[in-house]
């Protein structure tokens, strides 16, 4: 039943069969899944989608599997929240939060990509799955892999926040904490992937894995009433999510689900790791790698594999790139929580703070519709807020002591 016709190099166009491979043997360019859109157009319509269960597999024809979905059957279809309080604060008319802080089962958008990656790993016949991760991916591979019965090897930078480490360990994967940053973990993993016949979700399964990110974009369109927003702000680490959100919009346009598409795509990064935003601002095609130094660890990829393509999307759509300091990230997290009741991880703070700047500088117009992609839950990175939240009111267990507080805060 699959609609995938093969893999194709994004750089030189060479074609490959559907296999657990990820780079072009000739030029090392990344491989991309090719679909038979003519056939998909016949079966996938607004009506057929609306009849299906509310999870990411409702768009399964545009996902790279051959059989039925096997992993993450309840993942995806997170809320799209109309953020009127936040819109008022930022001075814009229509603002939405795509809220993957409540993704099932591990509270980040990685549950989407891993659902697709592990379904594909099973189709390929692997018994062991692995990943290199800054945290969220580790959680998702650990959890989805536990439920699906895979052996699991998870590689993380040893400097990750302790709470993120516990949130992987609880699912009992083989957790390997590497003395190095994410780029070093990634390099090590690509050498391990050379040697062991495992499904490394972000290495040899990457062309399939990355396609899972499109479901966030499909949902945005559907939840806006089958319309594309004027602007979408997407956090960037490798740049993969941004390119896939744009791809999802274009696919819906291609199969006729969207009538019009004029969305501008904006890249959000932390200043301490902003190779993509820097290239956009400097109007160059060269992504210069950096050594990350930011509290937004889930975005701390100094050598972004899809940075070049993210750059092209931003240029093609007339968007822009912005970056924000650690202080602005914390303010962004707090603003989203205070106005919309959503506690996002540091990457969410990056997205919101960048959106704020883009609005202030007029890159995002006040009378347009804007969607912010919020990709992970704040409970995972609470350490980032240490010393930056208000304090509790400490009292004695009596009414007088309590009422002193009411007086102090001026409650009426």
């Amino acid at each position: 039943m699959g609609y995938v016709s093969g893999l194709k190099c994004r750089e030189c166009g060479r074609e490959y069969p559907v296999d657990p491979i990820y780079v072009c043997e000739f030029c090392f360019g990344p491989l991309e899944v090719v679909y038979d859109y003519k056939q998909i157009k016949k079966v996938l319509t607004r009506k057929s989608i609306e009849k299906r269960d509310q999870n990411l597999w409702r768009y399964k024809e545009l996902l790279p599997i051959d059989g039925e979905p096997q992993v993450g059957l309840k993942s995806g279809f997170t809320p799209l929240i109309r953020a009127d309080n936040l819109a008022r604060e930022l001075g814009v008319k229509e603002l939405y939060v795509k809220d993957d802080t409540v993704a099932h089962p591990t509270l980040s958008f990685k549950d989407r990509v891993v659902a697709v990656a592990l379904t594909k790993a099973r189709e390929f016949g692997f018994d062991t799955v692995a990943c290199a991760s800054t945290g969220n991916l580790a959680h998702s591979v650990s959890a989805h892999g536990a439920k699906a019965g895979f052996k699991r090897f998870v590689f993380i930078p040893a400097s990750l926040e302790p709470s993120k480490i516990v949130a992987s360990l609880v699912y009992e994967p083989n957790l390997v904490a590497v003395d190095g940053n994410y780029d070093e973990v990634n390099r090590l993993c690509s050498e391990i992937a050379n040697k062991y016949n495992w499904a490394f979700v972000n290495i040899n399964i990457r062309p399939f894995y990355a396609e899972g990110s499109k479901t966030q974009g499909f949902e945005i369109i559907e939840q806006l009433g089958w319309k594309a927003p004027d602007n979408v702000v997407v956090p960037c680490a490798s740049g993969s999510l941004l390119t896939k959100v744009w791809k999802s919009f274009k696919e819906f346009r291609k199969i006729g689900i969207l009538k019009e598409l004029e969305t501008k795509v904006f890249a959000a990064q932390a200043t301490g790791c902003s190779p993509i935003a820097a290239a956009i601002k400097q109007q160059t095609d060269v992504i210069r790698p950096v050594k990350p130094n930011t509290i937004a660890k889930s975005l701390a990829i100094g050598n972004p594999a899809d940075g070049f393509y993210a750059l092209q999307v931003v240029k093609e759509t007339g968007g822009y790139g912005e970056d924000v300091s650690d202080g602005e990230i914390i303010d962004g997290i707090k603003m989203l929580a205070r106005t919309e009741g959503i506690f996002a991880e540091t990457a969410g703070g990056v997205t919101l703070a960048c959106a704020k700047k883009l609005i202030e500088t007029g890159k995002i117009q006040k009378d347009e519709t804007t969607v912010l992609c919020i990709t992970g839950n704040g409970l995972k990175t609470q350490e980032a807020l240490n010393g930056h939240t208000a304090s509790p009111h400490y009292i004695k267990p009596n009414l007088a002591s309590f009422e002193e507080i009411l007086k102090k805060i001026g409650y009426k």
Binding site: N194, S240, N303
Partner: protein, 91 residues
């Protein structure tokens, strides 16, 4: 003692299946040119008109050459070089 060069899977077909080969000391681009002489075809996979291809990462003793002097980075006997395709992760 020469320079140790780790070859990634997609290129091992050109090195008769060898995961590791020896390279010459000098600049990275000279080393690539020398590999091309002994393993014809490997040069154009890694580089294009004297520049390392966009999706190829080269590490000297675990340091990305883009943090050093890129193609002009000088390697000496005993150094270890990894050639690694760019890989995805994160968002």
């Amino acid at each position: 003692m020469a320079v140790k060069v780790r070859i990634p899977t997609p290129l091992q077909r050109l090195t008769q299946g060898k995961e590791e080969v020896e390279g010459i000391a000098g600049t990275i681009i000279d080393l690539v040119a020398d590999l091309e002489k002994r393993f014809p075809g490997i040069g154009e996979r890694i580089s294009e008109s004297g520049k390392i291809r966009r999706f190829v990462n080269i590490y000297v003793n675990e340091e990305d050459i883009r943090f050093l002097k890129a193609e002009d980075t000088v390697v000496k006997d005993g150094d270890e070089i990894s050639i690694v395709p760019a890989i995805a992760g994160g968002m």
